[in-house]
Subunit: 270 residues, 2 copies
């Protein structure tokens, strides 16, 4: 079911600025056993990202109520929330008082092979580079053409994800996932000061790692550094954590810390 500003419809106005300019933000979250996983975190990030674009954040109670209506008793699915700056006159200037469009939709949980979770995935290196835009870095906004171009680079079903580098050749993440590496000194996640998405899974992985006594740092990740890491894994709210088993000729087995973080995230589900 799809709700647009609370009304059951599949229809977004053609003049919506989300369509015209990608002027909005989104979140994707997993519903398990009828429960929206990590809801408080997703809501907090959604509001944060709205404010970063100068949009008022949605009201939590009504958004929650809309999600519950859209779920309509579904136990296992993916829910997506989009908030745009709403409809406006033609032209880039935002309305002084924006009237955001709020879209809530649900869809099937994608079925990935169980071995992605257990044995890890094969990842490729994308040639599409992420551009540097500090004003938008970290925000899960609707300007995602770079991710689309990167994902369009391969059509080989044995490759589950692609790693994206920025123009300084630092590895920033997967096309749809956050990247983590484990080195002798602990967990390292890429610096998102210029690009990338600062997602809920990143936050949850940091907390899980810290709780299992693994020091966590943000760092600049050259490709060599990633390929030399003990463990490499990718994650997002829908898939959870996938160990990387193969990338650019390098092969890993799912590592101890990765498995512990996988289990912890899976147990907690918050």
């Amino acid at each position: 079911m799809i709700l647009v500003n609370g009304a059951a419809t599949n229809c977004v106005p053609a003049m919506d600025r989300g369509l015209a300019y990608g002027d909005g933000v989104f979140r994707t979250l997993r519903v398990r056993k009828g429960r929206m996983q990590s809801w408080p975190r997703h809501f907090r990030k959604l509001v944060h990202d709205c404010l970063a674009l100068g949009l008022p954040g949605p009201e939590e109670a009504s958004l929650w109520e809309e999600l519950a209506r859209a779920l309509h008793g579904t136990q296992e699915c993916v829910a997506k929330i989009i908030v745009t700056r709403g409809s406006g006159e033609r032209g880039y200037a935002p309305e002084r008082v924006p009237r955001p469009t709020r879209i809530v939709m649900t869809g099937p949980q994608p079925q990935y092979p169980e071995e992605y979770f257990r044995s890890g995935i094969k990842a490729r290196l994308c040639t599409t580079r992420l551009s540097a835009q500090p004003r938008l870095a970290g925000i899960k906004h609707l300007n995602r053409l770079e991710n689309v171009l990167a994902r369009a680079e391969w059509d080989d079903s044995s490759v589950a994800e692609g790693l994206m580098l920025d123009q300084q050749l630092q590895v920033v993440g997967g096309t749809m996932t956050s990247l983590f590496i484990v080195e002798e000194e602990g967990l390292v996640a890429p610096d998102l000061v210029n690009c990338g998405v600062d997602g809920v899974t990143r936050e949850r992985v940091f907390e899980a790692a810290a709780r299992q006594g693994l020091p966590c740092r943000i760092g600049r990740l050259t490709l060599d550094r990633v390929l030399e890491a003990r463990e490499v894994f990718l994650g997002n709210s829908v898939i959870g954590i996938w160990p990387v088993r193969e990338c650019a000729g390098k092969v890993w087995r799912p590592g101890r810390e990765t498995v512990r973080i996988q289990l912890r995230l899976d147990e907690e589900g918050d």
Copy 2:
């Protein structure tokens, strides 16, 4: 009137990739005396930009027919065409065979003061920088958050446009216009290899300048170079050409070459 894939509706499917990812392109053109100005150029650029994103270009005859229907006899207006990659499953991977969404809409021609055209405008310098993305540079795609952020920087009605610089501090254009300067050696327009939109007006200005014997070049435009130019002007398909009268403390009068190009573009209307 709004037509979506030929049907009179204001409704774009909520799952459209244009909304989800800004996965599409657009064009804005002016209708004068019932005639779509520079139609062959706009259509050619539209197809070019579609192909750059791996989208099949629309069929000219049906797009033309839809525009005529949307105009519905209106003599003076602005027409906008959006082509997206259409609806798809959740996820960045494009469908193997895209079924694009085609949106045609019309709106009123914005009324700008006549003095903008005659005496020129006051422009400001935006602090939002354009990011470098060679894969998307020049394309009029739907990822326009940078333009939105830049346009949101000011709310002073005496300022008609803002100039945007890239991260190397080269001036690339206005938030909604192409930039041109006239130096002793001729006309210079900014290099769009990393960012910016390569629009129809840019093409028309180059041709008009060449026909009046003005050498035309592409160059890297530092802010100093722009401010020291003899003449500076901005243009797009909707507004035509606006001389810049004031920017960053520098003042100009509409220059001879600018006025000649203005007149030529206004006469030709192609």
